[in-house]
């Protein structure tokens, strides 16, 4: 038996082949998502060559940009061991806010965007404070703010679309511009994804987020200020959701209290779970979530191209999620007893 000095593959649980172990190192989660994606692309592409057209690829990219942003925020929260189901409402509120501030400042897009992001930060902070200081379970807390933020958005907007940003160059650039041939929307997603990826993987902050999700008592006794991390992560998630809201405003040309943002929280959680985030916390990665976002985008797009009834699309997404999680659980050797972790 060797000491720690020896480099060898980590001991795998019983009943694993060498192949399995090799894959483990590379991240089976991502590889199986990739395989699913390749199969799906081949299947759709074979029947509808249009699928590979640059225009269609851009469509997919821009379609997933907003839900992708929210999914990345959700990834952070889930790794921390919590959940944020208010992100859709935050996006709606931010969308309204950006358009209303834009109008109020007689056409200042930067102020509109900045204002929306500040409001997103405040929403996140409210979530964090209710959880930390009110000792409310994260699901309940954000279920409450899901309703409350949506209500605020409807109140300030009277339930109607606000302002008109469709002729402002900044919003137009966000919605339809491109840099180096790639749509701005996709750039926004890429930049946020990279930033969160670096944060989670390479900084002490990210490592502490994993630690808190893994065992909060241990993290606390090791000197990590858990409250500050909860507040920080919810705040960041609020800002990212608000950015999503700004993009909704840009794409539709006006502030939308509800349409465009309702239901985004479910898409975000779906993508994170499909991407390998464990709901008990401490496990997950931006790369997996991003792959899952793309997979879901391709699925929707492909089924639309193939003319499949949109109701079936929802069934397919649900099925995909269950299958993915079942595979995960089987892989982790979870015993089939009682409520799963």
């Amino acid at each position: 038996m060797s000491q720690t000095r020896v480099e060898a593959p980590a001991a795998a649980p019983e009943g694993r082949s060498a192949m399995r172990r090799a894959l483990d190192g590379a991240g089976v989660q991502n590889i199986s998502l990739l395989i699913a994606l390749v199969l799906l692309v081949a299947l759709i592409g074979a029947r509808e060559p249009v699928f590979f057209g640059a225009a269609n690829l851009k469509t997919i990219g821009t379609a997933v940009a907003i839900s992708g942003l929210l999914a990345i925020g959700q990834t952070m929260v889930i790794i921390l061991g919590a959940l944020d189901i208010s992100v859709g409402s935050v996006a709606g509120l931010a969308s309204v806010a950006s358009a209303m501030i834009f109008t109020a400042t007689t056409g200042s897009a930067p102020l509109g965007i900045l204002g929306a992001l500040v409001i997103g930060a405040l929403c996140g902070l409210v979530n964090g404070c209710v959880i930390v200081y009110g000792r409310v379970n994260p699901v309940i807390a954000t279920l409450a703010t899901l309703a409350a933020f949506k209500g605020v958005a409807q109140l300030v907007s009277n339930g109607r679309a606000q302002g008109y940003t469709g002729s402002d160059p900044v919003f137009v650039f966000l919605a339809r511009g491109a840099v180096a041939g790639i749509p701005t929307l996709i750039w926004v997603l890429i930049i946020v994804a990279l930033a969160v990826h670096v944060l989670l993987k390479y900084t002490d902050i990210g490592r502490n987020i994993y630690a808190i999700g893994g065992n909060d008592v241990a993290a606390r006794l090791a000197g990590i200020n858990i409250n500050r991390y909860i507040l920080g992560v919810y705040l960041a998630t609020g800002v990212i959701a608000a950015l999503g809201g700004v993009l909704i405003t840009a794409r539709t040309g006006s502030g939308q209290p509800i349409s465009g943002s309702e239901g985004l929280e479910l898409e975000a959680i779906t993508a994170a779970a499909l991407g390998g985030c464990a709901m008990r916390g401490g496990k997950g990665a931006v790369s997996g979530t991003l792959l899952a976002v793309v997979l879901l985008g391709v699925l929707t797009n492909g089924m639309t191209l193939l003319g499949i009834n949109p109701f079936w699309q929802n069934v397919a997404k649900g099925l995909l999620l269950v299958v993915a999680v079942v595979i995960q659980q089987v892989r982790s050797g979870e015993r089939r007893v009682g409520l799963p972790a």
């Binding site: 038996m1 020896v6 060898a8 001991a11 649980p13 019983e14 172990r21 994993y210 893994g214 065992n215």
Partner: protein
């Protein structure tokens, strides 16, 4: 509840033959053949990671062997699950018992076997029954049958597990380090129980790292090393030296003897500290000094430690670090101020089980390993390697997930975390629980070196020889109060015990 016995046959109750088990690249067991006889206590010894728990898990159906077979009463059996083994009368008292937190002791004991009339059962009858069980087994008053599982001390959890095992028919009963969380008094009661079961014809397997216990209790001793059976000796014909040699494969240097340091000024001082669990506690720990905190399980020592590090509120009194008053709101304040705390329950309170040794060891030093919040990975690896090697953590690599390590090696990972942090004050709660002889000596000498470097060390331990061998000064607590302070020169087991049990002999049950 009285275990029904199989008629005393001459053959072994359980025989394992050529047992082999691998976990990936690790050979946890390799060709082990052993007889477990009725009416006999067979002790199983070996270093951390030698394969003891794995062997128990195989005979109780938790793991399937890769090679070899099990013969129960001469007939080959194969257990698909612990439930199968239980039905066949093979039970294990786990190293860390699973307790259902929100239900009562009585329900925890009878879980899965609730005595009921139809679907109805009476809480009161169940409580009475559990109380009677406790009395019969010599643990009267050790706990309240109505107490919820989450409030139990480690000793009481152990007891629940034992009661559970005895609710059915038992032919083979295995204990995996049962005494590591018990006080001396409870250990004696446990031994009396084990002897009684043995005399009734139960075959007992007893895993422990404590030499004296084994020589006191066992009839035969089997030693494992790196998954292989080194030998089996009658307990009466062997001794500490031979067993250690068999376990580690070499002679171990003489019993640990701490060098005396000349302690510096007080680093940590407690003045009349009162919390929900302790009252008016005052003592100090100087630089370069090791203070032992002795007492029975439930004396409030762990709670005191948690209050000092800011994990539990202090109601009155003060804690001074280098003369300055600490007002911690959470452990992050005290860690930053320079206090390290390795808690007593490693799985629940210290480890990230699903993460690597590297992540676990570097957890408390990440801030120092980072520049502009970016973790310097090379420095991190080097640091983790250094401490994992110094503590001889046995694992394929530092990337191994901690849940795959043996119990003792997990404990070393916790210690490595705090050694890497280099605090001014280090509080260690049961630092050698479940650690083998070799590693124990290693940990003692590391504590000694820390003190020599000027660290103020507070060691909470229920093992008297450990406290006596390690501490410069011993503070004894009972029922949340300090009952005395002894200098190392005046301290003997009797003095410490007298202070620990000053007014009452029974350790109080369900303290919260």
């Amino acid at each position: 509840m009285t275990p029904t016995m199989t008629p005393a046959t001459s053959g072994p109750a359980l025989r394992v033959e050529g047992l082999g088990k691998r976990f990936g690249a690790v050979r946890a067991l390799d060709g082990v053949t052993l007889d477990i006889r009725p009416g006999e206590v067979l002790a199983l010894m070996g270093e951390n990671g030698a394969g003891k728990s794995t062997l128990l898990k195989i005979i109780t159906g938790d793991h399937r062997p890769d090679d070899g077979r099990l013969l129960l009463g001469g007939q080959e059996v194969s257990f698909g699950s612990p439930a199968d083994a239980r039905r066949a009368g093979v039970r294990v008292i786990a190293q860390e018992p699973e307790i259902i937190p929100h239900v009562s002791v009585a329900e925890n004991v009878y879980v899965g076997a609730l005595p009921a009339r139809g679907r109805l059962f009476s809480h009161r009858a169940l409580s009475e029954r559990t109380r009677a069980d406790l009395e019969r087994l010599g643990f009267a008053g050790a706990m309240d049958p109505g107490c919820p599982g989450e409030r139990l001390s480690p000793a009481q959890r152990q007891l629940v597990e034992i009661l559970r095992a005895l609710t059915g028919e038992v032919r083979v009963l295995a204990f995996d380090e049962p005494t590591s969380s018990l006080s001396d008094h409870e250990v004696s009661a446990l031994f009396a129980l084990i002897r009684r079961l043995r005399d009734q014809g139960v075959a007992i397997v007893y895993v422990s790292h404590r030499m004296q216990e084994i020589l006191r209790l066992a009839d035969r001793v089997a030693v494992l090393r790196d998954g292989r059976l080194v030998g089996v000796r009658p307990a009466a014909e062997t001794g500490e030296d031979e067993l250690v040699r068999m376990m580690v494969g070499r002679d171990l240097s003489a019993m640990f003897q701490r060098e005396r340091n000349r302690p510096g000024g007080p680093v940590l001082a407690l003045n009349g500290v009162t919390t929900d669990d302790v009252t008016d506690v005052s003592f100090e720990v100087r630089a370069g000094e090791v203070v032992g905190l002795a007492g029975l399980v439930g004396a409030g020592r762990s709670e005191l430690a948690r209050a000092v590090v800011g994990d539990l509120p202090i109601r009155s009194g003060e804690v001074l670090l280098e003369g300055r008053r600490l007002r911690p709101r959470s452990p992050s304040d005290t860690v930053r101020a320079g206090i390290g705390f390795a808690p007593e329950e490693r799985k629940a309170q210290a480890l990230l089980l699903h993460r690597s040794i590297r992540d676990n060891v570097s957890l408390a030093v990440l801030d120092r390993l980072s520049r502009f919040h970016l973790v310097r990975r090379a420095a991190e690896r080097a640091l983790v390697r250094e401490y994992a090697d110094r503590l001889r953590v046995k694992a394929p690599s530092v990337e191994t997930e901690v849940r795959r390590l043996s119990g003792g090696n997990q404990q070393k990972v916790v210690l490595a975390r705090w050694l890497a942090r280099k605090p001014k004050v280090l509080i260690l709660d049961e630092p050698t629980r479940g650690v083998d002889v070799g590693a124990k000596a290693e940990i003692y000498s590391i504590i000694d070196r820390l003190a020599a470097d000027g660290v103020a060390v507070l060691v909470i331990s229920s093992e008297l020889p450990e406290v006596l061998g390690l501490a410069d000064r011993i503070v004894v607590m009972q029922n949340g109060r300090v009952t005395g302070e002894l200098d190392r020169r005046q301290a003997g087991e009797e003095q410490v015990l007298a202070l620990a049990m000053a007014d009452q002999i029974t350790s109080e049950g369900a303290r919260q």
